[in-house]
């Protein structure tokens, strides 16, 4: 059996609908954002910005999507938010990814701009561009209900934008169901720029399995680990204790150590019981939500009288806390729930709120700058005002249309520029950056982000946090649990680097290879349409599912001879394709700015307290690891540019030629004709 799915191409300017078989790209790029990136690179010239009608919005499932081993899809497009408009990938799942796969379409690639608001409806082979003028302006909850009513089918699955996306706010998300959001890179603004309110899918085709026995063997292994094996603590933790007292302590500790950005003077108020996350969860949780066919169901569903109802994951709350210095979980929920309805990224908006509050404390802005609302630390009025005005692009919210970098130049005559806490215009929550002062926590988080330039990299969870939740489930002391989870890290480390210590924050030797292996396991999952949640992205959570397992699952589902080596080569191809294209974007659109001062100063160095106490950011070591990584990927260690040899080895001669041409003169490279890559496999 081979792939039978199609790529659906929609041109909203022309109202044209075309289809081509996925199999053209499947061997070289597997699926998911691998194929999505190739589609964008083939069609969109590097100088095109995210909200240009010529930008291509791709929704990508993978070979495992719709099965028990995969439930995600990714949005890959040119980012309207990240400086220089590079490729950006944001994933979500819910019920949408599998439903889309069941229509028989693996990928949906949308270009152009509709004259009036529309939505796309795909029901098996039937594709319709439908009028959405009456839906424009609706929030993400209401519009999903209306579309289901209008199509007379409650099992239609909808991915949509809210007012934030319609207004092309670069912090806009694409939202599905209750709280499944594709947020990174500001993909909601791309939909808004195309006058595309929603994509609705309904499919009954199913995914045939080439080798059910092999598939069940893989599933049974994972099942055993999740129910009685080493993964059981992790699954039970995310399933049942998403918001827990642990998160409160974690947030508390984080704030105590790192403060917010350049302002470390904040004094933490005493935590009140009714404000705690654990207490909130106990009182208001009505159920779990998550993706189709996944036993983990990693998000909580809450109903809070007088406030609202919706879904939330703990990460949101952490981001909120760090940004705005208010510990009341109910308030975080209120703001997060409102952002979901308006269709905006909680991390981006809280970053903006936090920045405004710093400016207010420092006297750089007054209430007059924020439409009369004083930006006091943690003020409910201030937070909710920021949410409404930024998402709806009203009043001072208009400053933030293009993101925090632009606003920091425009607002208050640029006096708050040095305090803006972002990387390439992406607000950075401290949950990412707290590890910045070390060699990168458990997996070299910061190094991965800096060296690999992968802004979508979800950092490995901190080893020091998670074991405490595991201890009671394993029936071990906290100390013994930490030893156990460290042993798992050493196992993974040894397997890929030959050294048991490469994962450790202070170790340089083998670190690049460790990062390379982690990147591979994430990329393999993405390309296969599988969530990276239960993979060796987090070995210390007990995950053993590695790149070779994803390859085995692809073989079982498709019957294709996808060996681990072939998958690794496809990952390398995707990595170099994206890196080359992003370099072309930079050369045409401008240089990547340095990491802003606020971020460097914000990471207290050395770390004053906590499990990483005393660790310092080491410039020399980080440079070494970066160079080692470049060597592994076949890039120039000084510039990070992929070498011609490395590109040609994976069939990317076209990109090598373009890079060379853009180096020799300043001629804009034209978009290539969409030809599939000659796959050497």
């Amino acid at each position: 059996m081979s792939r039978t799915g199609m790529i659906l191409r929609v041109d909203l300017t022309e109202g044209k609908i075309e289809k081509e078989p996925t199999s053209r790209y499947a061997r070289a790029y597997i699926g998911g954002p691998g194929i999505g990136s190739r589609l964008v690179v083939d069609q969109v010239p590097p100088d095109v910005t995210g909200t240009d009608p010529r930008n291509l919005l791709t929704i990508n499932t993978g070979p495992l999507t719709g099965t028990l081993l995969g439930n995600k899809c990714d949005i890959t497009t040119k980012s309207p938010k990240i400086t220089n408009s590079p490729l950006s990938t944001a994933s979500f799942g819910g019920q949408f990814a599998s439903e889309m796969k069941f229509t028989g379409h693996d990928h949906i690639a949308i270009t152009g701009k509709a004259a009036e608001p529309v939505y796309l409806f795909v029901e098996n082979d039937r594709v319709e561009i439908r009028d959405a003028r009456h839906l424009w302006g609706m929030d993400t909850e209401v519009v999903q209900v209306r579309i289901k009513e209008e199509l007379k089918d409650p099992d239609v699955q909808v991915a949509c934008i809210g007012p934030a996306g319609e207004n092309q706010f670069v912090g806009a998300v694409i939202l599905h169901d209750i709280q499944n959001a594709a947020s990174q890179g500001g993909v909601g603004a791309v939909m808004g720029s195309k006058n595309l309110k929603a994509v609705a899918v309904r499919g009954t085709k199913g995914v045939k399995i080439a080798d059910p026995e092999k598939f069940m063997a893989l599933w049974n292994r994972l099942w055993k680990e999740m129910t009685t094996g080493r993964l059981r603590a992790y699954v039970q933790t995310v399933n049942r204790e998403q918001l827990s007292t642990h998160c409160d302590e974690y947030a508390h500790m984080g704030m105590a150590q790192w403060g917010y950005g350049p302002d470390a003077s904040f004094v933490i108020p005493k935590l009140k019981k009714e404000e705690l996350q654990g207490e909130f969860d106990r009182r208001y949780r009505v159920g779990s939500i998550g993706c189709a066919f996944c036993p983990v169901q990693c998000q909580g569903n809450y109903d809070v009288p007088g406030v609202g109802s919706g879904g939330v994951a703990c990460f949101v709350n952490l981001a909120m806390r760090f940004g705005v210095k208010n510990l009341d979980t109910k308030l975080h929920f209120k703001a997060a729930e409102r952002m979901q309805k308006l269709g905006a990224d909680t991390i981006e908006v809280t970053g903006i709120a936090g920045w405004l509050m710093i400016l207010y404390q420092k006297g750089i802005i007054t209430a007059a700058d924020t439409d009369g609302v004083p930006m006091e630390w943690g003020s409910e009025e201030a937070i909710m005002t920021v949410v409404e005005k930024v998402c709806k692009q009203e009043g001072f919210g208009k400053f933030f249309a293009g993101g925090i970098a632009q606003a920091s130049e425009a607002m208050a005559n640029g006096k708050g520029f040095h305090l803006a806490y972002h990387e390439r215009n992406v607000s950075v929550p401290l949950t990412f950056w707290e590890r910045g002062a070390t060699l990168g926590g458990s997996g070299g988080t910061q190094l991965m982000q800096a060296a690999t330039q992968y802004l979508w990299f979800h950092p490995p969870a901190d080893r020091h946090g998670i074991y405490r939740l595991f201890a009671p489930i394993f029936g071990l002391s906290e100390e013994d649990t930490l030893k156990l989870t460290d042993e798992w890290l050493s196992e993974f480390s040894e397997k890929h680097t030959g050294s048991r210590d490469a994962w450790k924050p202070e170790v340089v030797e083998g670190k690049a290879r460790y990062m390379w292996a982690t990147e591979n396991t994430i990329s393999a999952a993405d390309m296969a349409g599988r969530c990276d949640g239960v993979t060796t992205r987090t070995p210390h959570a007990g995950c053993t599912w590695d790149t070779e397992d994803t390859a085995a699952a692809i073989r079982a589902v498709t019957g294709e001879p996808c060996t681990t080596e072939m998958l690794l080569e496809a990952i390398q191809r995707r990595r170099l394709l994206e890196a080359s294209y992003n370099i072309l974007c930079e050369r045409i659109n401008g240089e990547v700015p340095e990491i802003p001062a606020a971020i460097v100063q914000g990471s207290l160095n050395p770390i004053p307290d906590g499990p990483f106490k005393g660790q310092e950011w080491d410039d020399e070591a980080s440079e070494q690891v970066g160079e080692d990584y470049c060597e592994l990927r076949g890039c120039d260690p000084d510039t990070g540019v992929p070498t011609r040899e490395a590109l040609e080895k994976v069939g990317l001669k076209d990109l090598a030629d373009k890079l060379e041409a853009s180096e020799s003169d300043d001629v804009h490279p034209a978009a290539s004709t969409p030809t599939p890559v000659a796959c050497p496999m």
């Binding site: 066919f293 036993p295 109903d303």
Partner: protein, 161 residues
């Protein structure tokens, strides 16, 4: 006989049961062909779910209305569709009081749960992570459900605030 019992409070609505069912029965992942379905409804951003599958009625309407005698009860009392005899008339669909039997458009025959006849236990029960699904003898069904509901009640009355 034994039946499948569903505990609403424990169910997360993950739909693993649907996926497992269609894989075991049809070698593919396809909710349309799953014998048991999770009906999801989202209202005010709150997920409600009901799992629908054959409850193995004592006096099954589907059996009574089947014009070709394609539905019969086996030794254990499990109602089974003989796909050879089924003509796809859809009478059973209309007669079933819970919506647990449906004619598959692709195959042209009625599909319903047979409690995984021939296997050790129904596979949806085997792979239910929260144990919301249980495979129980008739005499234990009543007390099991009573227990599940009383737990919810206890939680409600003891909850603070």
């Amino acid at each position: 006989m034994k039946r499948i019992v569903w505990d609403m409070a424990k169910c997360t609505g993950c739909r693993v049961c649907e996926a497992v069912c269609s894989l075991v029965k049809e070698g593919e992942f396809n909710p349309v062909k799953a014998r048991g379905k999770v009906v999801r409804t989202v209202e005010r951003s709150i997920l409600h779910k009901v799992r629908v599958t054959c409850l193995q009625c004592e006096e099954p309407n589907c059996m009574a209305v089947c014009p070709t005698g394609a539905i019969t009860a086996n030794e254990e009392g499990v109602k089974i569709v003989n796909e050879e005899k089924c003509i796809g008339c859809k009478m059973c669909e209309m007669a079933c009081p819970v919506g647990a039997i449906a004619v598959c458009a692709e195959k042209g025959v009625a599909l319903k749960c047979d409690l995984c006849e021939g296997l050790e236990e129904p596979q949806c029960v085997k792979y239910c992570y929260t144990e919301a699904l249980q495979h129980l003898p008739d005499e234990r069904v009543g007390i099991t459900l009573a227990r599940a509901k009383s737990e919810k009640y206890l939680e409600m009355v003891t909850k603070e605030g």
